[in-house]
Amino acid sequence: MDPWALTADALREPWRLWTGHLAHYGWGHALANAVALLVPLVLLPPRERRRAALALLALAPALSLAILPGLGAGEYRGASGLACALWALAGLHLAGRRESAAVGLLMLAGLGIKLAAEAVLGAGFLLRAEGWQTMPAAHLWGTALGLGWALPGSLRRRPA
């Protein structure tokens, strides 16, 4: 079994809680996820970008622990769960500012459409020919964690 993938062994080998999001099934898989991670980082203002990167470090193990029960004896690889967290986080942040509200809402809408498509289309849409399947729960948990991380800051910014 891959030493970097997220498996039940993560409870004994804790690095897997982070590296599971870095390991991928191939270059195509990794590249698409890298694009998804880069887009919100580019759109955020430089100061927020640093904060978001630090947030990812904290969100990665939280996301791993959230999806671990669903893995059983299997493994998980891929950064798209984290990418969903980042999209939610950045989307909420940008939506809370007048000058970038449109982009933020566009990001949140795109994320919502993706999650809805996965829920509606199901396993036929998610099963990859290489023998693994997309885990929608990772995207849902990622989105929830991203929103949870960004919501307090977003509420603080709003005038009473």
Binding site: V35, V39, V42, G74, R77, S100, R128, G131
Partner: protein, 289 residues
Amino acid sequence: MPRPAHPARLGAVLVLLATFGCTTPATTTRRSSLMAYLYPKEKAAPAPNPTGARLKLPLRLGIAFVPGGTASWRVQNLLGPGEEKPLLDVVKRSFKDRPWVGEIKLIPSAYLRAGGGFDNLDQVARMYGVDVVALVSVDQIQYTDPKWYSFTYLSIVGAYVLPGDANDTRTLIDAAVYDVPTRTFLLRAPGQSEVKGSSTWAHREVQLRAHSQKGLELAMADLSKNLDAEVAAFKAEVASGERRDVDVVDRKGVSLRESGGRNFGGALGWPEALAALLILAAGLRMRRA
């Protein structure tokens, strides 16, 4: 004083010219049958191993043309010397970039005996050290139909100058992949093509031979595309447990059937990545404005 030609006689002569002057439609069929090769004895067809196939990755794959009728493709002059390899290379290329294929061997059709069955396939697989063999069978029909002005062939000059033959070559290729040790059928993919053209009577055979070759090439290219999709579907079926007679064991000894349903990935498709880039472009444009 010569008698004027009677209109009825003249008409009869023209009808005779048209009838016998025109070439008659002709059909040529070239066929190699997978069933005739693998199961020559109808009542003693070998049953596949009841335990099914357990394919060990990386696969060692062989590719060969099925012998047609009573002899190999080459012996039947269906493929000239040196023509077989480029055609099989098309199939080879579709497997080449697959990480689960270790080596691919092109097996000359001369090594396959007409009606040789699995015994012959066993011998060839052992000889080439392959476990899985893709057997390519071909069904090619060539039609030649006379055009209305083909009666001009009677003038001899017309047979060399006027393209009065309509030639149509239809090719259907089928690749069936078998696990040889367990005699288990794994998957199949079709490829087809149609080549049309016109020729003079004198050039007909040359054009039919050229179309035969071109038809095979086009059908092979089509087969290659379909094979790609079929292999992907096959792997998905094994991973999901739909194919109970086949299992694939990866390099680490992990069964795809056991792990396939439980290996998860966090993935975004390319359409989603493209949408993300569009949002990025919109965001950057708004920021500048």
